[in-house]
């Protein structure tokens, strides 16, 4: 029983979308974690509820953060530049392995003067999408700073990182190849998954957000399962601690034997 109606048919995910480049991705498994699939099958993820993951999109001004989100959520592209004031967001609803799941995409302003406002929205993100312009090398260089700022408000161990090059349609394949090398290097350094997209043509945009949604979903389910199982595990640990004592004593005995 949900307040929300069923999601659009083209937002249903049954299999894990694959990464873009094997050299720079979060993991290369070709399907969802077995724990997640089984939990979803048994409907252990909760009968009623509104699962929502917060994703923040950061990066230099005019790299195309808003355009990328608009292409995915509204399937439109506006050639005119309109600076985002402070922060904006879009909701996108998915159904992953039969479970409704919402992605809240926070589109932050790239302009320096709005940074103080935008940064207050960094907190509590499950995924950070650091965006740069493929036709502008300096925007790639700035991604590290953006990530650093975003991670100040978040737990670096649990948050998923994505490095996205936009405006792929603006550069030639040879230029792109060079840029990609640098970008993959940066992505490896920040342990992020690398993608390149074009909001103008729509290339890879859908694939990218589906990957984000799926990985975020997977991570959330795993975290939840860990939390709910923690108590049970605690009990098991208690027993184990006894076992360990036994083991240790037997070990001592063994040593004695050897002597």
């Amino acid at each position: 029983m949900s307040v929300l109606p069923p999601v659009r048919r083209d937002r249903i995910v049954a299999d894990l979308p694959q990464c873009f480049k094997k050299e720079a991705c979060l993991h290369t498994r070709d399907s969802f974690h077995s724990k997640v699939t089984s939990a979803c099958k048994q409907q252990r993820t909760g009968t009623v509820g509104f699962r929502i993951s917060k994703v923040i999109v950061v990066g230099d001004l005019s790299v195309g953060k808003t355009c990328m989100i608009n292409r995915f959520c509204k399937d439109v592209f506006d050639k005119n530049y309109k600076a985002t004031i402070g922060v904006d967001f879009e909701m996108e609803r998915f159904e992953i392995l039969g479970v409704p799941f919402s992605l809240q995409l926070w589109d932050t302003a790239g302009q320096e003067r709005f940074k103080c406002i935008a940064s207050t929205y960094y907190r509590g993100a499950q995924a950070i999408i650091v965006t740069f312009d493929l036709s502008n090398i300096s925007s790639l260089e700035h991604t590290k700073q953006w990530l650093q700022d975003a991670l100040k408000e978040n737990d670096p161990s649990s948050v998923l990182l994505f490095l996205v090059g936009s405006k792929k349609d603006l550069i030639s394949p040879s230029q792109y190849a060079l840029m990609e090398q640098d970008a993959i290097k940066v992505a490896k350094e920040m342990q992020a998954e690398y993608w390149s997209v074009s909001s103008l043509t729509g290339e890879n945009v859908k694939e990218f957000f589906f990957r984000v949604a799926s990985l975020t979903f997977e991570a959330s389910v795993l975290a939840e399962l860990e939390k709910t199982n923690a108590r049970k595990i605690g009990e098991v640990v208690r027993i184990n601690s006894n076992d360990r004592n036994l083991y240790q004593s037997s070990k001592k005995n063994k040593q004695k034997c050897c002597q």
Partner: protein
């Protein structure tokens, strides 16, 4: 020997040099035979005398021929007179005359011939000189031609060389042209790119200007509002005065309140986010009801009320999650300025107990 005898009998006037030599010859041979017979002493005394006589005879015969013309006439006359007398040799005289005539004719002919010969020789020389002249001319012509040919050959050679050079130059120029064309193309492309960039930046500029104007307008209107609210407490004041005062204050403060403060923008953004969240939830709710209508499911009123209540409750939670704030029943200002203290987390589990509670609430409401 008969000829020798004729010579010895010859007339002295008709004696020629050859006759004298033949006489000497015969005398010589006679003297030879005498020396052979009687020794050389026998003729020693005779020989110089004979030689002298023969010399005299020779000179006589030589001079006699030159003097012969007048003497001949005299002789002819004497002979003719003697001939009349003796009439012994008329035929001879006649023959002599004839021979003389013939000789004369022959001499004439000879002179004619020599003249002719002279003429012919002259002609020959002339023609010879003419031929030489032609040959020389021809040679001159040949030489001239040779000079011309040489000059032309040199010219042709130099022209070919020049042509070769020109060809090389042309090739080099062609290459240069190609290079320049490439550079040109490059530059054109760059210009096009720069133009495009310029255009886009111009467009951006105009957009920013428009944005600025809008902002300015907003600022103005906010200022207006601010002064309006300030003037509200002074209800006792005259309206016109209030307005004029407001205008004054407005103008004064316009210069110092051109921009939004950070708090203003934060507030606006927060309000916008809240409105957007509400819009999203209302939209989704609308869709939900639409679906129910389309499915034509008959839901008991009891359950429907429960659902409504559940939705209300959920909506609050979702809204709080979406805005990243603590659920608060207080006014919006509380949510705006209250820092989000607790992280609501990505998951919301609603237990079956809760559902039952919701249902109960619905039932209570209905009752």
């Amino acid at each position: 020997m008969e000829a020798a005898e004729v010579i010895w009998r010859r007339d002295p006037s008709a004696l020629s040099l050859d006759d004298v030599y033949s006489m000497a010859k015969s005398l010589g041979s006679e003297l030879q035979s005498l020396t052979e017979q009687y020794g050389p002493e026998s003729v020693a005394g005779v020989v110089p005398q004979v030689v002298r006589v023969l010399e005299l005879l020779e000179s006589f015969a030589a001079t006699g021929r030159e003097r012969s013309c007048p003497e001949q006439e005299l002789l002819i006359r004497a002979v003719q007179s003697m001939g009349r007398e003796e009439r012994q040799a008329p035929d001879l005289e006649q023959k002599l005359l004839e021979a003389q005539k013939k000789e004369h004719d022959l001499q004439n002919k000879l002179s004619n011939l020599t003249e002719e010969n002279q003429k012919l020789l002259g002609q020959l020389a002339e023609s010879k000189s003419q031929g030489e002249c032609a040959a020389r001319e021809e040679r001159d012509l040949m030489l001239k031609l040779k000079v011309v040919v040489d000059r032309q050959r040199d010219e042709i050679r130099s022209l070919t060389r020049e042509n070769h050079q020109r060809n090389k130059d042309t090739e080099a120029l062609q290459e240069q042209l190609n290079r320049v064309m490439n550079v040109n193309e490059d530059l054109r492309r760059k210009v096009a790119v720069v133009n495009a960039q310029l255009k886009s930046s111009l467009q951006r500029k105009t957009e920013l200007e428009i944005l600025l104007q809008e902002k300015q307008k907003e600022v103005d209107s906010l200022n207006h509002k601010l002064f309006a609210s300030q003037s509200v407490p002074d209800k006792n004041m005259n309206r016109a005065d209030c307005k004029s005062q407001e205008n004054n204050v407005h103008e004064e403060s316009k210069s110092c309140q051109m921009c939004f403060t950070k708090e203003d923008v934060k507030q606006i953004v927060q309000e916008r986010n809240e409105l957007k969240t509400n819009l999203f939830l209302v939209n989704e709710e609308l869709k939900y009801y639409q679906r129910e209508l389309l499915n034509d499911e008959r839901i008991p009123t009891l359950l429907l009320c429960g659902i409504k209540s559940a939705i209300r409750k959920q909506k609050k939670k979702i809204k709080a999650k979406m805005l990243g704030i603590v659920e608060s029943p207080t006014s919006r200002f509380g949510t705006w300025y209250g820092k989000p203290t607790a992280d609501p987390g990505p998951w919301e589990m609603i237990s079956s107990k809760e559902i039952n509670m919701i249902k109960k609430e619905g039932a209570d409401d209905n009752a």
